[in-house]
């Protein structure tokens, strides 16, 4: 038994997370992601709040600003859900009495093979940093919430991972991208769904994403309804579990009708459907959400995005490039190979994002 300084607590915890070889503390996004995965192994299925609590509480006395730490944990948790380490699903009961809360489940250990021979690692194992052999664990590259295992020339990584029992997800199945639509087509479809829903009356714990607010500050767009009219992406609370995503029609701030997201038949997560919907709304309003392309280190460009985008987009960029620390007011950033940029610009257009000028970047 020994007494530890704050720095020593950081160091031992980071080492426990399997990140001991990296110059990180517990506030680094890689550490937060690893701490969330570890907590998920203990507590899933559970609400996002349970995981946030589990990671935040032990930082008491170790970080200067618990509020900022909480925000970073929330952001990383969203990224883990979008990436596929955690699965947002409705709870089910073996006894058939459907419970229906939306909870986070630990994804099984899986991988997505890349054409380079490397593998993106996904999923969570209880009580262990990873199901991989130790010598492989040391080779894992951590960038933010993303874990990538590069291939060695002498091995067949793909076959070995399958033999170890990891599930192989095809790139397409992992991306889960929906078919291409115009924003008008997509909005018309979703509007029709909400208008055919039954009248809702009061909706407890409703907050809306106010499209009239600036697209570059995502958190600032979330408000409680006051006098707004129109259709909004929204969240409504449930007794336990993450707030449910929904699409609501308001009249003078009062809910008229709503549908939960994702709509029936969609395989997307609620958050992905909601963010796609907001992209379409903003585009149709003539205030599209923004991205920025900046020069990067040799042969690369930096992509910065200022609002959340559906998981299939972040998964795609994580696969072809790598996540980098955010800066300049963006919500997340990726370093992409130069040769991929042309195709990615086309993809960004299909996401209904517009390019912001570099001069608009905050210091």
């Amino acid at each position: 038994m020994r007494q530890l300084s704050v720095e020593e607590v950081h160091a031992t915890a980071v080492a426990e997370l399997g990140l001991g070889s990296l110059p990180l503390d517990l506030e680094a996004s890689e550490s937060i992601a690893a701490a969330l995965r570890r907590a998920a192994g203990f507590f899933c299925p559970c609400s996002a709040r349970t995981l946030i609590r589990a990671v935040l509480r032990p930082l008491d006395g170790l970080v200067s600003d618990l509020g900022a730490a909480e925000e970073a944990i929330e952001t990383t948790l969203d990224a883990l859900v979008a990436h596929g380490d955690l699965l947002e699903q409705r709870e089910f009961s073996v006894e058939g009495d459907g419970i229906g809360r939306v909870l986070l489940f630990a994804a099984p250990p899986s991988f997505v093979a890349r054409s380079s021979g490397a593998a993106l690692l996904l999923g969570i194992t209880r009580d262990q940093v990873s199901p991989l052999p130790e010598e492989w664990q040391a080779r894992i590259e951590y960038v933010g919430h993303v874990r990538r295992l590069p291939a060695n020339v002498s091995e067949s990584l793909h076959a070995d991972l399958v033999q170890l029992g990891l599930i192989e997800l095809s790139y397409k199945a992992w991306l889960k991208a929906p078919p291409v639509e115009t924003p008008a087509q997509y909005l018309a479809r979703m509007n029709a769904l909400v208008e055919s829903a039954a009248p809702s009356g009061e909706i407890p714990g409703l907050t809306i994403l106010d499209s009239a607010r600036p697209v570059r500050y995502y958190r600032g767009r979330w408000v409680e309804p006051k006098a707004q009219s129109g259709r909004f992406v929204a969240r409504r609370s449930q007794a336990y579990g993450a707030d449910l995503w929904c699409y609501v029609s308001l009249h003078n701030g009062y809910p008229v009708r709503f549908i939960d997201l994702p709509p029936s038949g969609s395989k997307a997560h609620g958050c992905d459907e909601a963010w796609r919907l907001q992209l379409a709304i903003d585009f149709q309003r003539g205030q599209p959400q923004l991205f920025m392309l900046l020069p990067g280190p040799a042969g690369t460009r930096l992509l910065k995005v200022f609002s959340p985008v559906p998981g299939w987009a972040t998964r795609r960029w994580g696969a072809i490039g790598e996540s980098i620390p955010r800066s300049g007011g963006c919500l997340f950033a990726y370093r992409l190979p130069e040769q991929e940029i042309e195709e990615e610009l086309r993809f960004l257009g299909e996401l209904w994002l517009s390019e912001a000028s570099v001069s608009a970047e905050r210091p």
Partner: protein
């Protein structure tokens, strides 16, 4: 080199090996696989054997080459056909060799070189092949399973296990409850398997070389290395084993006072140290903490099984959870080593009610569980509402200012003194209130809390620092892993001049922290601790002595291993019953398989059939997608429609030794199930040669003379005809219209129902069959013979062709009808044979139950209550039937003679139920009428007595049969019958 020269060389080798083994490892035996020959040398030796046997009989002066040769084939054995491989690879053996000779050479080897001697029930059932297989040390198909089990057990290793490999073998045997039957056979030999496992685990360590020849060990290790997962399992298990073997004293710590406890008390203390106490958590199900669901989190219990192997059967039986819906969890569900399970409670368990109730109840198990598997004694339970809105049970009953709590109580009190307001629990038997504590407690409030039995937490706060604990109730109870060093934060709300922390009462585990400033956290790192329960005490050091400031309950548990498949943390839940189904059970629809997950998500099942170990599947078929949840009946119907009913797969099934099911649901995960053919010493294999069907009898019993074979035709299922397989090939041709073949050798019996040839069906009516029972004798003995025949026909193995099952059912129906002719008489037989179409009310049968005036009401009552009986459980039906029988047949009341009046208290004596007991007889009659295939097993030794009673009281037999047929007819209109003979009468 000729065989004599090989023999001499091997003799020198094994003599040396025996000497060195004896010197280094005492009485550890030598195995034939430890021959020390290279691959080329083995090839040369095998060539010499083949050359010799092609022209000469095997000779005892060549014993050692033969022993090595036979063990090498055993090393490749995968549970299918040892002798077939042996004979195919050794041309001339069939005519010049005989199996007993091989056994004799192994016995000689055993005597000469202190060789391993197979023992246990498997050795007596497989009396010859047990020798080469034992001497193969670890046949290839079992290596992966051993690696997995060693990996699962790695945290349970202690130096003791490596000093006494039998103890290690015992540990392996206990953990093999979910392994294949072949592996279980291996594990029965605890001394041998312990020796093999210790050699594998300690390879390269000092003193380990004496356990197995290093070259042989390397060979097994190299074979294991071919499979990446097995290699990794063994590597991780080795790491811990070598550490534990080197350092003594790493076993589970014994709580204070352990040495003085009685044996049973020690066992209870060991259970307590496992930290398996279930935990209550309240989940909000309404706004503003207005209502809650009660969930019980049951930790994984696999360590309980490892500590108490003698109770394996009871612990791995199906299990119910007190207060839950009553649904039983599948066998071994809580012992998978994959984490805790959550069960919703609809009723608050009583204070003396065991939370876990195993189907195979044992008083010793119940006694053990009473220390950890009861709710904490009430009448109040305290829960703190955390920031994630869950309310976690605080076992300490300690409250802290500024927090919000739920108080659960058996009394419906308001608790206004603490400012509580009612909240609702979706759980019967208790009431709940919610209350907030202000940041400063008045004396009045503090007194009110005290009056309720709640204590106020001291002015010190402890919490897991850096990383989350595996469990934390927010106040003073946490769980960590034995592989980590728990880090704790401590903070006081006033200055203290000196503070110290200690683990338990151990002065060696104390740390002086010096002065503590108000509000400033101090962090301490605990050492890695072996699994067990501990107390961390924080004390202020004062002049007058130490003042305890606070305590933290620490539970240290071993980390759980990861294995592919569903986990409690993931989005798929997989349950299968039985836990290790055989291929036959899968094919015949006797596996209850359930897969739960997000509603409506698609799952794709791929079925693979394997004929040989290490060979690709002979069939791999992706079935159309299923939707979650997959229910047992849904799965059976899907498997049947898309796989079992296809002729190609039926043929492949007959040739298969194993089936692998793989359920994939994209990112939700995948689950796997492997079903191997039942491993029995006497079994039939069906082969097709064009339209002809050939049956081969595989006899591994080692008995002589050759097994006797009887044949029963479908049209005359009670007539036995002696058959004679070809002596050399043990093969016989199946008659065109099929038959049941029964082979007997010693205690072993193997029956198979071979269907008619497919080509014989030219008309639809050919598919039908009208079995006739030729005997017309009516007596209790005749009834007993029919019951025996029913058991024989029902236990017979089915072939892939579904006509096997159809014919089996037709025969079983005919035999059951005949049984009730024997018991109920000709009039009843005629009535059953001529139930008019559309006779929904069974008027015709009802009249046949009895013509006596006083007994007619019995059948009338059953008919009248039929709809209600249909909706009742079997137990309720039996109860009602018995009650009607008492009324109308004037049977004595249940077990009247067992009731004694002692003073003012009526005491029921435990008496064994017999055919004289009317309750027993009524249940027996219903079981016979609805599922005679299991009735004799239920009656144990009382079958003949019961049949005699029913023969003497035929109205009871007829009434039971009437009840079964009437209910079945009504139920049949709603559900398919599945594997049951009569719908609505499932006795499993």
């Amino acid at each position: 080199m000729n065989l004599s020269a090989w023999h001499d060389r091997l003799k020198r080798h094994f003599e040396d090996l025996r000497r060195s083994r004896s010197a280094s490892a005492g009485d550890k035996p030598v195995f034939a696989l430890e021959h020390g020959l290279s691959t080329d040398e083995l090839r040369a030796l095998s060539a010499e054997i083949r050359l010799h046997i092609a022209n000469h009989e095997p000779a005892s002066n060549h014993a050692l080459p033969w022993v090595v040769y036979a063990a090498e084939i055993g090393y490749r054995y995968a549970g299918d056909e040892y002798w077939q491989t042996f004979e195919e690879e050794t041309p001339g053996w069939l005519t010049r060799g005989h199996r007993e000779w091989v056994r004799d050479q192994f016995r000689w080897f055993c005597d000469q070189f202190h060789g391993a001697c197979p023992s246990g029930s498997w050795a007596s059932h497989f009396s010859i092949i047990c020798w080469p297989i034992t001497h193969a040390i670890l046949p290839r198909d079992l290596q992966q399973q051993l690696a997995r089990i060693l990996y699962q057990l790695r945290h349970s290793f202690s130096a003791h296990h490596f000093e006494s490999p039998s103890a290690l073998g015992k540990l392996i045997e206990t953990r093999s409850w979910d392994a294949t039957s072949r592996f279980k056979n291996l594990a029965q030999e605890t001394a041998l398997v312990g020796q093999i496992a210790a050699a594998l685990l300690l390879e390269g360590e000092q003193g380990s070389a004496g356990l197995l020849l290093p070259a042989t060990l390397k060979r097994i290790g190299d074979d294991l290395d071919h499979e990446r997962r097995a290699r990794e399992w063994l590597r991780r298990a080795r790491h811990l084993a070598q550490e534990r073997a080197r350092f003594r004293g790493l076993s589970t710590p014994r709580p204070a006072g352990y040495a003085d406890s009685s044996r049973t008390e020690r066992a209870r203390e060991e259970v307590a140290a496992l930290g398996i106490e279930p935990r209550l958590v309240l989940y909000p199900n309404g706004p503003e903490d207005s209502s809650w669901d009660v969930w019980l989190e049951i930790p994984d219990l696999s360590h309980l099984l490892e500590r108490f192997p003698a109770y394996r059967d009871a612990l791995t039986s199906r299990c119910g959870v007190a207060g839950s819906s009553g649904r039983l969890l599948a066998r071994g569900f809580l012992f998978q080593g994959k984490g805790s399970h959550r069960i919703r409670l609809g009723r608050w368990p009583r204070h003396d009610e065991l939370l876990l109730k195993f189907e195979e109840s044992l008083p010793q198990v119940e006694y053990l569980l009473r220390s950890e598997c009861l709710l904490r004694p009430g009448p109040i339970w305290l829960f703190r509402i955390a920031s994630d809105r869950l309310a976690y049970e605080l076992r300490s009953l300690r409250v802290r200012p500024g927090q919000r709590y739920v108080l659960v109580s058996t009394a419906d009190s308001i608790y206004s003194a603490i400012g509580a307001h009612r909240t609702s629990l979706s759980c019967e038997g208790v009431h709940a209130v919610v209350f907030d504590l202000p940041s400063a407690l008045s004396q009045e409030l503090a007194d009110a809390l005290k009056g309720l039995g709640l204590t106020q937490a001291k002015n010190i706060q402890v919490w897991p620092a850096g990383l989350a604990a595996a469990e934390w109730d927010g106040e003073g109870h946490g769980e960590w892993l034995s592989t980590e060093k728990p880090c704790i934060g401590i903070r006081g709300d006033h200055d203290l001049s000196a503070v110290k922390v200690a683990i338990g009462l151990d002065a060696l585990k104390e740390l002086d922290l010096g002065p503590m400033k108000s509000g400033a956290p101090i962090f301490i790192e605990l050492p890695t601790l072996p699994a067990g329960a501990y107390k961390l005490r924080v004390s202020a050091c004062e002049h007058t002595g130490d003042e305890l400031l606070g305590e933290l309950d620490l539970v240290i548990r071993e980390p759980q291993e990861w294995a592919p498949g569903a986990t409690p943390q993931g989005p798929l839940v997989f349950q299968v019953e039985p836990s290790v189904p055989t291929l036959e059970q899968l094919w015949e629809g006797r596996v209850e398989l359930e897969l739960h997950g997000p509603l409506g998500r698609a799952v794709v099942c791929t079925v693979k059939l394997f004929e040989k170990e290490d060979a690709p599947p002979i069939v791999s078929k992706e079935l159309p997608p299923l939707q979650l949840p997959v229910t047992p009946s849904g799965w059976k119907a899907h498997f049947s429609k898309h796989f079992r009913e296809m002729e190609t797969f039926q043929n492949a099934y007959d040739a298969s030794r194993a089936c692998e099911l793989e359920f994939r649901a994209e990112e939700l995960g995948a689950v796997f199930l492997t079903c191997e053919r039942e491993f029995t010493p006497l079994r039939w294999v069906l082969r097709r040669e064009g339209p002809r069907q050939m049956l081969i009898l595989v006899d591994d019993t080692g008995g002589s003379p050759p097994a006797a074979v009887d044949q029963f035709r479908f049209k005359t299922p009670d007539v036995r005809q002696r058959s004679h397989p070809d002596l050399a090939t043990r093969t016989m041709e199946v008659p065109k219209d099929g038959a049941m073949f029964v082979a007997r050798q010693g205690d072993s019996t193997a029956a198979v129902i071979a269907p008619p040839e497919r080509r014989t069906f030219t008309k639809l009516e050919d598919l039908g069959c009208n079995p006739q029972i030729l005997s017309r004798t009516r007596s209790p003995d005749a009834a007993a013979w029919i019951v025996q025949l029913i058991e024989l026909w029902s236990c017979a193995r089915l072939t892939g062709n579904l006509l096997s099952q159809t014919r089996q059912r037709q025969v079983l129906y005919a035999l059951t009808r005949h049984l009730f002719y024997v018991l109920g008489g000709e009039g009843w037989e005629e009535a059953e044979a001529s139930i008019p179409d559309g006779d929904e009310e069974f008027e015709h049968l009802k009249r046949a139950v009895s013509s006596k005036f006083e007994e007619r009401g019995f059948a009338a009552k059953i008919a009248l209550e039929c709809a209600a009986l249909m909706a009742s459980t079997k137990e309720q039906r039996i109860q009602r039937f018995t009650s009607y029988a008492r009324s109308f047949l004037h049977l004595p009341r249940a077990s009247e003679e067992s009731m004694q009046n002692i003073g003012a208290t009526l005491v029921r004596k435990q008496v064994e139920r017999t055919p004289d007991d009317p309750d027993w007889l009524c249940e027996f009659a219903i079981r016979l009428a609805s599922d005679p295939t299991r009735a004799a097993a239920w009656a144990r030794g009382a079958t003949l007595g019961g049949l005699t009673k029913l023969y003497e009281r035929p109205v009871l037999a007829r009434a039971a049969r009437f009840l079964v047929l009437a209910v079945s007819r009504k139920v049949e209109n709603r559900v398919t019958c599945g594997g049951r003979l009569y719908a609505g009468w499932d006795w499993e």
